[in-house]
Symmetry: C3
Subunit: 227 residues, 3 copies
């Protein structure tokens, strides 16, 4: 099964570990044996001007996933929104009202569906590929989350090269290593069965340190500086 | 403390990872240091004709646990049903009504208790051994779950030898290895302190692969084929 | 960021693994990279005469944390009480009523605040250091929990030297090793990013074994005996 998914993660942090804004939306193509991506793309946000409500994230994830899916033609697209695996092209008002989610969630999805339902319907009509709102249960969604953390590390390297230093928070229980010419990342939860990723990056002249975020258990902080 | 417990797990899957039915109920004898079983037995279900409501599972687990307990005379029997550790022989109507579980759970247990309460009462009168509904808190129940996964792998090996191939889903966060003459399995959650199991099996002429189930995070898929 | 925190953990167990009472309150100073303590102190309870309601624990943790903080002057004190990070010096009646916690929790905190609010206010006026009720989200609180387990092992060694044997339960998913002249402990959850601790202890002439508590999944039992 070839699956495309997308997720947003990684936050710029202050010296006191307060989040400023999210950094990276990653879309990935995942194929058997479902432990890493065979292809990935990224869209960087502006962490200094970020809508933290979460609505921006889901919309950009959907559009980025469709962008990747146009090229690689997967069997299905997984979105990080936990609506029980429903097809996004079917999300009209009455269907959203019938979901067993909070009233707030219904309101958000009625707004989101204005853009995403036509997107999903059009993409399905053109390609036969469904976009499903499967959420946290999906391994490709978790792999996209790990890639959003790896791209966040790349962003931090580039930011530090220009500005001297960057402190970023990674997505939940994952870590990264900055290696010569590449950035490697992996899940810290062995129950997930060994999920990891790697991208190329110019890592010359960069020092780094990774350690637990003291204020948010199970999340790691990456500090990067120009040497 | 010598404890007998039982649990059901492992599912036959389609090529698209959809569950067809459950495969194995395992009963185990667990003794100090409580990391594996000193004895195990199995009852295979028919995954092509399986009642997925969960009622069949608890009933078969209780009967299989009592079958093993008759031979090995443990101190106590643990069932995988989370009723706060109550003795099953005491489960009459008013007691079930007083439990802090859902109305649906009460209905199920009133039905189950018709068979299991007399079974537990008779077994206790004969042997003094209690059957308690302790559920997920019990380490022996988790060890039984791991053995149900190991026996599922054995079932898959035999099924593949006859039919060419099998795809099965293992119980939550555990993995297996098919070794010469045996099948080894272990928990993927290090917080559990190193739980594992092993059984003998004819593994000749069998190829296998294990990988994360892309649709159900933290669950592994085992594919087995005739070589 | 230099953080002081405190937590209580470790229980004396009967031969049947029933808890008798809690053993150790530990306060720790944690500094970057936030994986262990640079300093720790302990206050032992009397497990044979212990108020298991939890009220005793929070009060003693607060007083022990302030005792350590007087010496080391951290930036902030973290208490193991999950009130969203609110400053304890601000906990008057109306503020407690406005918290989104259970009515029972409000009652407990109204009682606790009688001692702790003046303590926090006085300490803040003297030093400018806030005491915040951040709870499980805090890594230093988890490190304090790990130290409470390490000190529990030390208590067990001393108890066994006098009385022949001790069986204790450690805090959630952590383990210890009794080494020559020291006791080492670490988290069993790799998602936490490698939290550990070590203290000096006279460990001569002591045998020990660690294994999963069969009745409480993800908790370990330590047995210690005089050799």
């Amino acid at each position: 099964m070839r699956i495309v998914s997308a997720d947003t993660g990684g936050a710029l942090l202050t010296e006191d570990y307060e989040p400023v804004g999210l950094i990276a939306t990653a879309a990935v193509l995942v194929d058997k044996p479902y432990r890493t991506a065979t292809l990935s793309i990224v869209k960087y946000g502006n962490p200094f001007d970020y809508d933290m409500s979460g609505r921006q994230a889901v919309r950009e994830e959907a559009f980025l996933a469709v962008e990747l899916a146009r090229k690689v033609r997967p069997d299905v697209i997984h979105l990080d929104s936990t609506l029980g695996g429903i097809e996004v092209r079917k999300l009209d008002g009455p269907t959203i009202d019938a979901l067993t989610i909070t009233d707030r969630g219904k309101e958000v999805w009625k707004d989101l569906a204005k853009d995403l339902q036509p997107l999903a319907k059009k993409f399905w009509e053109e390609t036969g590929i469904e976009i499903i709102a499967i959420g946290k249960s999906s391994v490709p969604v978790r792999i996209a989350e790990i890639y959003s953390g790896i791209y966040t590390a790349k962003w931090a390297v580039e930011y530090a090269r220009e500005n001297g230093k960057a402190i970023v928070g990674l997505p939940r229980y994952m870590t990264v290593e900055i290696r010569p010419g590449k950035i490697y990342g992996e899940s810290l939860d062995p129950r997930e069965g060994g999920l990891f990723g790697e991208i190329e990056a110019n890592t010359e002249g960069i020092g780094w340190e990774i350690y637990p975020n003291p204020l948010v258990r199970r999340f790691m902080v990456l500090e990067v500086w120009r040497e």
